[in-house]
Subunit: 209 residues, 2 copies
């Protein structure tokens, strides 16, 4: 209902996001005010808030929503007999082949993450998104009202991805090698996921619900 309108909305949203990103990179996240962004995008400050609830969302827009979406889709579509965690591991492999930013580290992704790491409020928002993703993953693993173990497993998965990403970026920055960065990333993914898999399996044997 309302095609032209929706186009315009998407356009406005994109313009705001683009303008903001440009300003942020030119200076820094904290140095650019919302008033500036609004002015540069030819809208009012309120309009910016219409599209992005928080300033941080101008940069982190749906980073983790998307991650969760991938996770969900993969788990639901997994072949019979495949454990959810094994499937997630497989998903990461597929993302690597596609060189998707979630599982591939190069100059561009490293720049992005370094920028995020430089801003306390972006980091904070990222932690929040991570938590939300973990909660969503727990629900995917164990239905609504997941128990403690499911929540712990989901948290560990998300933590593993985050830590692996941090290490990959760090290695890239220090060594300049995308190859080594990706190797580190997947080494940690494997270790973290295996630990979680082991934990869940032990529990399944130890107590039948």
């Amino acid at each position: 209902m309302g095609e032209r309108r929706e186009n315009k909305k998407r356009e406005t949203r994109q313009r705001i996001s683009d303008v903001a990103t440009e300003l942020f990179f030119a200076r820094s996240f904290e140095a650019v005010t919302l008033d500036e962004i609004a002015a540069a995008a030819n809208v009012s400050k309120m309009t910016v808030f219409n599209y992005f609830a928080r300033k941080e969302d101008l940069m982190l827009d749906r980073q983790d929503d998307l991650k969760l979406l991938f996770f969900r889709e993969a788990i639901r579509a997994r072949p019979q007999g495949q454990s959810p965690i094994a499937e997630l591991r497989a998903l990461m492999g597929r993302l690597r082949e596609q060189k998707h930013p979630f599982a591939h580290f190069d100059r561009h992704t490293a720049d992005f993450w370094r920028f995020v790491a430089a801003s306390p409020s972006l980091e904070a928002r990222l932690r929040e998104l991570n938590d939300e993703a973990a909660e969503g993953l727990a629900i995917e693993l164990a239905g609504p009202n997941p128990d403690g173990l499911a929540r712990l497993a989901a948290g560990m998965i998300v933590l593993t991805v985050r830590t692996a990403r941090q290490e990959a970026v760090s290695v890239f920055e220090r060594r300049g090698s995308a190859k080594k960065a990706n190797a580190v990333f997947f080494a940690l993914i494997d270790q973290g996921f295996a630990a979680v898999q082991g934990m869940a399996a032990t529990d399944a044997r130890g107590q039948s619900s």
Copy 2:
């Protein structure tokens, strides 16, 4: 140097903290402004900021600093041959016996954590403190510049404690039983710690640095 002065400082700090806590519980964290707190404590807003860098620190003052301190102490004092993670597990057991708030759940602790959970900014600050604790723990485990695996292990330990605490509080709220809450807490602690222990052990066998 300056005894009287230091006493007065501690006094002032305590008064501010007490007054703030009271006001927060009477209304809510967000509903109480710093101006109010300052007025109620007979100091200026600036003085409040002198003692507490952020509003959140009025409630979470050193929650996790203290946790890290415990961890550090335990790891350093552990008997030879004991793995750090096993020692941390033992530490949690000791804290339980002392009914220390970190490892014991009753009406009082549940009230506190429910209050924290009700405030987004308190939750955010808590996540930040958790991250700092994890980083500190990683350094304790693997020296300065810990590698990815150490950081992952430390993150998982902290995550386990956090998740276990959340579940314990949740159980207490639903069932009203401190006994069950504590049981849930330690069940999760055991599972999480075991998974991390397994991960570290596997790595030590798999690759010699």
